[in-house]
């Protein structure tokens, strides 16, 4: 059972230098109040794993604006000129990862797999410095698992076990990130009593979730 917590209490658990996964795709399905909490708390030196950095002033873009991210692993930064500026200025170290590979690497981290064998990136600059393996005459790129200290997850509904549902394109990276972090913190649109989410509707089982964000007073 989890009790819903104040955002300050949750953000206080996240130290400077932590490795974070944050769900969302251009802000849809991102945990916006937790992100705001991180900015307000003045964290620094974070490593961030996320699909994108949205736009300046919005969602994950706020973390970039505030300069709290030291290292970023993402698939797309084209919507955020500030991210590109910090990269060019050498203030932000960025690893660009194909979106499907990013999802699979996070999954591998959460599923106990040693890596991902993919064709994506073979023969391109993405391959640089990575091992390849030949299987039955075909070459595959070996991409390593990703794990995080914390995953900040956005959900449609949570129950007090931590069972989660997601809505439409707000799902994206949230379920897979909930598998791959030591501590999982959830910001849900709604928190319901245990038993209100039918077993077949649960997309993330509550056992993966550590903390729920309380609703605004």
């Amino acid at each position: 059972m989890k009790t819903a917590r104040h955002p300050d209490d949750l953000v206080a658990m996240i130290p400077d230098g932590a490795v974070l996964m944050i769900g969302g795709f251009l802000g849809v399905g991102s945990p916006h109040r937790l992100i705001q909490g991180l900015v307000s708390a003045g964290r620094k030196g974070l490593t961030l794993i996320a699909n994108d950095t949205h736009h300046p002033g919005l969602g994950i873009g706020k973390l970039i604006d505030a300069g709290v991210v030291k290292r970023l692993i993402a698939s797309h930064i084209g919507t955020n000129p500030e991210t590109q500026r910090q990269m060019t200025a050498g203030e932000l170290e960025i690893e660009l990862v194909p979106q499907g590979t990013l999802a699979e690497r996070i999954r591998a981290g959460g599923y106990g797999l040693g890596g991902v064998l993919t064709k994506t990136g073979v023969g391109t600059i993405v391959e640089k410095g990575k091992p390849t393996i030949e299987i039955d005459g075909e070459t595959w790129l070996v991409e390593k698992p990703l794990r995080a200290d914390f995953a900040l997850i956005s959900a449609r509904q949570a129950d007090y076990f931590g069972n989660l549902t997601y809505e439409l394109t707000a799902q994206n990276f949230n379920p897979v990130m909930a598998m791959a972090a030591a501590t999982v913190i959830v910001e849900a649109d709604e928190i319901v009593a245990v038993g209100m989410i039918p077993p077949d509707s649960v997309r993330t089982p509550g056992i993966l979730v550590d903390y729920l964000l309380e609703h605004p007073a």
């Binding site: 698939s75 997601y166 439409l168 799902q171 990276f173």
Partner: protein
Amino acid sequence: MSMNAKELIARRVANEVRPDSLVNLGIGLPTLVVSYIPRGAPVLLVTENGLIGVGPRPPHGMENPDLIDAGGGFIMAIPGAASLDSTATFGLIRGGHVDLTVLGGLQVDARGRLANWMIPGRLVPGMGGAMDLVTGAKRVIVAMIHTAKGTPKIVEECALPLTSVRPVSLVVTEMAVIEPTAEGLVLRERAPGVSVADVVGATAAKLIIPPTVPEFALS
């Protein structure tokens, strides 16, 4: 890069869309294709951020904040739509379950290889889903303006970083339809009013010219 050129490309690409197929359209020019898909060819559009069955933009005031396309614009969902998380979406893409992807291009080389995701030192947006799509979709069509301010974009060898070493299926421009084959780039069609010599003159890769090169059929 007139509106007419883009429309021409979109209309020609629309002819390549098969009924009952799962189609991904890239941001920008490729998105225009949806307007020209023949009514009798019901297709399902899939977006990288996790929806099969993308519908049109919602009327103002009827947006759903949790329902966007990969460009961040609000969309609707058609009846029978399905939500997917990122692993499932890219499982469909990488597992060969997407019948067609239409993407923009910066360069295509003589082996049919596409570069479309970065210009080192100038534009580094990241590859997003492009590498997965070009590597995994059943058919890949590049929809692009033939030249960039007069400089050919179809070249012997891409100077820009490749998106994938897998050759694309077809290149459609406002001047020509070009098919990469094992023998090289074959000029399949030319746009209305464009001569074979025009195409050759605007292309920096060797083109194989069949005995007849018909004009586009447009949808």
